[in-house]
């Protein structure tokens, strides 16, 4: 346990010292927020599930922070560790896979919380963001969403052969999920193949799961079941394919 906490603390410091990751996971969603809400405002519209774009996008961007962690930051981090022999070094010093992935999960939570608080604070300070309607439902949705994307990150980090492939695939996945998964144009305006793609994007269900408690629509049972399924599958595959070197 001591090693898990030490490793988590070291990893938090390493995250802060890595400007590219900080910009990508924390700053990018904030820039999107300013641009999109600056254009669209917060007047309720039917395309945005009947609420204002600001209230629609803030929980969606929580999901975007989780996506950045799960499809870019974690896979790149893990493949780089494997490629450079860091995992080998950790393993030889009897640091277990549970300490390793446990610390990454804890760091993912901390980044997701930091990013989300930042988005929320700016939404309230700069714009007229409404507070979440059901915080008690939002919290479990947030936890499940973060674990889900962290598992996806562990899976990608386990199967991708190199840092380069993780960067390439990660960025493609991030932008496809961002644009078609509900954090870009609302799903109501998507047609044809975009619509179909949108339906198979994990972020879409994480966003539903986060938006519903935020907007007072209750708990999105179907979305949460799909997200739980993705989580279990990704975690099992990650455990199956994890390699130290």
């Amino acid at each position: 346990m001591r090693t898990l906490f030490k490793l988590t603390w070291v990893e938090i410091k390493l995250f802060i010292r890595e400007p590219i990751t900080v910009v990508f996971t924390l700053a990018l969603p904030i820039i999107f927020l300013f641009v999109i809400v600056g254009v669209l405002g917060n007047t309720p519209e039917p395309n945005f599930r009947g609420v204002g774009p600001l209230d629609y996008y803030v929980p969606a961007y929580f999901g975007l922070v989780m996506t950045a962690i799960g499809v870019v930051a974690l896979p790149v981090h893990l493949t780089a560790y494997r490629e450079r022999g860091v995992l080998r070094r950790l393993r030889a010093s009897s640091i277990s896979v549970w300490s390793l992935l446990g610390s990454q999960l804890m760091v993912s939570f901390i980044i997701a919380i930091m990013g989300s608080i930042l988005i929320m604070a700016l939404g309230m300070l700069v714009y007229s963001l409404h507070l979440p309607q059901s915080p008690a439902l939002l919290i479990p949705a947030f936890i499940l969403g973060t674990i889900s994307f962290a598992s996806l990150g562990f899976f990608l980090g386990a199967v991708l052969p190199s840092t380069r492939s993780a960067q390439g695939l990660g960025l493609i996945l991030f932008f496809v999920m961002f644009i078609l998964g509900g954090a870009g144009p609302p799903s109501g305006v998507l047609t044809g193949v975009m619509r179909v793609t949108s339906d198979i994007i994990p972020l879409r269900y994480v966003i539903f799961m986060l938006q519903d408690p935020w907007l007072g629509f209750g708990w999105h049972v179907n979305a949460s079941l799909i997200v739980a399924g993705i989580t279990v599958a990704a975690a099992l595959l990650a455990a199956r394919f994890f390699r130290w070197e």
């Binding site: 090693t3 070291v10 390493l14 450079r84 070094r89 010093s93 009897s94 277990s96």
Partner: protein, 302 residues
């Protein structure tokens, strides 16, 4: 002396390449045991099997009474490892790495002392990526020792160290041995094995070709000393007749006499008797290098 490591008929292949071919040896409690051989001889693969980092194809391995295949995690907490190909995150600081690796056990060493011993005090807050090759190497040795191991594996530990740092490293490793830690040293440096190891196993092409104390190996496999002097006189047939002399070679004025036994005294006496009093008469003792050359037919490629 009890055995800390017992290896029997260890074999490991990578595809069609046989890395380790039927190796057996034992390491006693409290000794510095060296695996000496050229790169690619199978030394690293052997110690990786002992640390549970690789799975042997066949053979029996016990380390600290444990099976590295089944009890790797327990084993790794009790051993220290300095690996050849490994790294730390670029932006981790020296003290953070030591503090982290000390946390795996409850009886870890006080790492500020290790910083001092391995000359890293000024680099305490430096990031890993800013360290020189030698500094990284010293940090890796310190990390191998920080969990206060009963047994430590050092794989090419002085690669990248300057000569002065090498000497310091040797002294520190002897001090670790004297405190009761067993050391397994993997090296391709002949002088390192000869100076530091209590016992040496010479590894070549995946096999152990000989194993003994450095002096024992020399006595058994390269007992001939070399007496060297220079003289302008050309006609020296009587030198070959001196008792114990095996070979005489001549390059210009330089004469090399190889032989065993008290050959230096006998050659010196004979020279004086024939009126030759060279001022540069000297003797070269055989070294592990000679043993290695004799046993393998090549050098370790230093």
């Amino acid at each position: 002396m009890t055995s800390i490591i017992a290896v029997r008929n260890l074999r490991k292949t990578y595809g069609r390449t046989v890395a380790v071919d039927d190796i057996s040896f034992e390491v006693a409690d409290g000794e510095i045991f060296g695996l000496l051989g050229p790169n690619g001889a199978g030394k690293t693969t052997t110690v990786e099997c002992l640390q549970g980092l690789r799975h042997p194809d066949s053979g029996n391995v016990r380390v600290l009474g444990l099976d590295p295949r089944l009890e790797a995690q327990t084993l790794r907490r009790r051993i220290g490892s300095q690996l050849q190909e490994s790294a730390l995150p670029d932006r981790i600081k020296v003290w953070e790495a030591l503090d982290l690796f000390a946390s795996v056990t409850s009886n870890a060493l006080d790492w500020p002392i290790l910083l001092e011993q391995w000359g890293l005090v000024e680099k305490r807050k430096a990031s890993f990526s800013s360290l020189s090759g030698g500094q990284r190497q010293r940090l890796f040795i310190a990390l191998a020792l920080v969990n206060n191991p009963e047994l430590v594996f050092l794989d090419e530990m002085t690669t990248g160290l300057d000569p002065a740092a090498r000497r310091v490293a040797w002294d520190l490793i002897r001090a670790i041995r004297d405190r009761g830690t067993t050391v397994v040293l993997v090296t391709h440096f002949m002088d390192e094995a000869e100076n530091l190891c209590d016992r040496v196993a010479i590894v070549d092409r995946g096999k152990i070709v000989a194993s003994d104390t450095p002096q024992g190996l020399i006595t058994r496999h390269a007992s001939e000393v070399r007496v060297i002097f220079t003289t302008e006189k050309t006609d020296l047939p009587w030198v070959e007749k001196i008792s114990g002399v095996v070979r005489v070679t001549r390059k210009g004025p330089r004469v090399e006499v190889e032989g065993s036994g008290p050959v230096l005294a006998l050659v010196a006496a004979a020279l004086v008797e024939h009126g030759i009093v060279p001022s540069d008469l000297r003797v070269e003792q055989p070294t592990l290098k000679d043993v290695f050359l004799k046993l393998t037919g090549h050098t370790a490629g230093e």
